[in-house]
């Protein structure tokens, strides 16, 4: 069983070129931040390293950090430009019993994060959900389609903080 600091040391030791930081100031759990374009490599390491053995991905959550520049359009709807979208990975090891939270932040305008679908199958649907709700593109995902919203939903993503309902969907009025 290892604590987040020890896990961070292990990652740093094995990937000396990678920028990995830990936010230990949070009250409940510490979060390790990792570069979104190297997450696959780190994930593979976390799963196979005999000292870590993170064989189960508990949850994968997309988050709109809403830390960009906020402006209002003529109707008063908030528009966010710039900033980041993040993906949080909650990992757990069924054999060694430790847990860790990873975070990968990507550009909000051109969001791209490596998929971990071929490491943990749980990620398949969770990544589709994050794509569906936030428009985060998971690189190398084999089947990145919408999952909860209709397949032909317009270009917007409902859980983004500046989401605005379309007025019509197939001729039906959307806001009720």
């Amino acid at each position: 069983m290892k604590n987040p600091e020890e896990i961070l040391e292990l990652i740093k030791f094995n990937f000396p070129d990678l920028e990995v930081t830990i936010d230990a100031s949070l009250p409940v759990e510490s979060i390790i931040s990792i570069d979104p374009l190297n997450i696959h490599l780190v994930a593979q390491f976390l799963k196979t390293n005999p000292e870590l053995m993170f064989d189960s991905l508990m949850s994968l959550s997309g988050v709109d950090d809403a830390n960009g520049e906020k402006t209002k359009d003529e109707e008063g709807t908030e528009i966010i430009t710039g900033g980041t979208l993040s993906v949080y990975y909650h990992l757990h090891s069924t054999s060694l019993k430790h847990k860790i939270t990873l975070k990968a932040s990507t550009n909000r305008e051109k969001p791209g994060i490596e998929s971990v679908e071929n490491i943990w199958k749980t990620a398949d649907w969770h990544e589709r959900e994050a794509y569906d709700m936030f428009g985060i593109i998971f690189l190398n995902h084999p089947d990145l389609r919408r999952i909860l919203m209709p397949y032909d939903w317009d270009e917007s993503y409902p859980l983004r903080k500046d989401y605005k309902n379309p007025e019509f969907y197939h001729g039906m009025k959307v806001p009720y």
Binding site: P27, M58, S61, D64, T94, T122
Partner: protein, 371 residues
């Protein structure tokens, strides 16, 4: 002359009695054999997570009821635990005990539906009626406590909406005494029925490594042979005080991890829940159940991931607080959502009629899949 054969796509659902809700399965079949199954979900999507961002923390609780509507108590449980962790508050002992009792009663009620409808899917009508007769008694207990039979809004951040009534302990003890022999009745009626075994043993086998990789939890994972239960593994509330076993699949009539194992683990779990309830009823202290409810719920900045052992598996809440009175983000890791993603893997190479048996055995609730 050779018979002309071709692959065919068959739609099962969205309206279908055996999909347990609104779910569409796209079956690619070659004759009677399944080549692939593609689940299409989202028919019940209400965007709970978006709603939660516009609500204050306590206002989210009724929404959690409506996700896994067969285990509403447990959905409340997971959410309030998460918010309490963010706030850093301790709840009174009495509240902890009542939560555990309610949670375990809910687990039994949920498994009763799972087992009953599973029999129904496979053509056994009678056990369903027996189980619903007993489930009624649990719902009555809930109704007498908080006024609702299905969607309770019972567990609040820091406490409970109502204390249990003076008769509750006696009535629950009576229920435990009454229900215990009835589990044997289910075994006689359904579990060891030859036709039922023929339909479920050696069907839809899920090996342990695949189960872990797909993120299966709860009874589905335990049926594959791993004694993994969050109540023991990562104890929350006061579960570490109780003595109970974790039933695992043993391949009694077929192979470890087949449909029958997934079914039977649920039957055995009901007995374990009864044991927890008995112990909790004996230890329950006196106290005020609303004394720790905060006047104003405004957690500090930060995030928390809490997981509880829902009747269907690991129910996780990832809550991010930005320091205001409503959550910045609530993500629900729904056990049914994850379980359903394994369906395609399980069905490959089986017959069309087995799809119903496999889908029933992973026990999904579509309200939770789509949230």
């Amino acid at each position: 002359m050779a018979l002309k054969t071709e692959e065919m796509v068959l739609n099962m659902g969205p309206q279908h009695p055996s999909t347990h809700g609104v779910l569409r399965l796209e079956l690619e079949i070659e004759g009677e054999l399944i080549k692939n199954v593609k689940p299409h979900i989202g028919y019940l999507h209400r965007c709970f997570e978006k709603h939660a961002e516009a609500m204050t923390y306590p206002q989210v609780i009724p929404y959690t009821d409506r996700m896994d509507y067969l285990a509403s108590m447990y959905n409340n449980f997971g959410y309030v635990l998460g918010v309490e962790k963010l706030l850093g508050i301790e709840v009174p002992e009495r509240v902890q005990y009542i939560r555990v009792i309610m949670g375990e009663l809910q687990r039994i009620a949920s498994h009763q539906v799972a087992i009953g409808t599973y029999g129904l899917d496979l053509g056994a009508f009678t056990p369903f009626l027996y189980l619903f007769r007993d489930r009624e008694k649990i719902l009555t207990l809930f109704e007498e406590t908080c006024g609702a039979r299905l969607l309770y809004n019972y567990m609040w951040v820091g406490g409970l909406s109502h204390d249990i009534h003076p008769d509750f302990i006696r009535k629950t003890k009576e229920f435990v005494k009454y229900f215990r022999p009835n589990i044997q009745e289910v075994n006689n009626l359904l579990t060891f029925n030859k036709i039922f075994i023929e339909r479920t043993a050696n069907v839809g086998i899920l090996p342990l490594d695949a189960a872990i990789n797909f993120g299966m939890t709860g009874p589905n994972l335990r049926a594959s042979g791993l004694a993994f239960d969050i109540r023991k593994e990562d104890p929350y509330s006061i579960y570490d005080r109780f003595d109970f076993d974790i039933p695992v699949g043993e391949g009694t009539v077929g192979t470890v991890g087949d449909c029958w194992d997934r079914y039977y683990v649920r039957v055995l779990e009901m007995e374990q829940s009864l044991r927890i309830i008995e112990q909790a009823l004996d230890q329950i202290p006196e106290g005020d159940v609303q004394s720790a409810i905060p006047k104003r719920i405004k957690p500090p900045k930060g995030s928390v991931y809490t997981r509880v052992e829902n009747p269907r598996g690991e129910l996780g809440y990832f809550i991010i607080s930005d320091g205001s009175t409503s959550p910045f983000r609530v993500k629900v890791r729904a056990p049914s959502f994850v379980s359903l993603s394994v369906l395609g893997e399980l069905c490959k190479g089986h017959l069309v009629s087995d799809v119903v048996a496999i889908l029933g055995s992973i026990d999904i609730v579509l309200g939770e899949v789509d949230r």
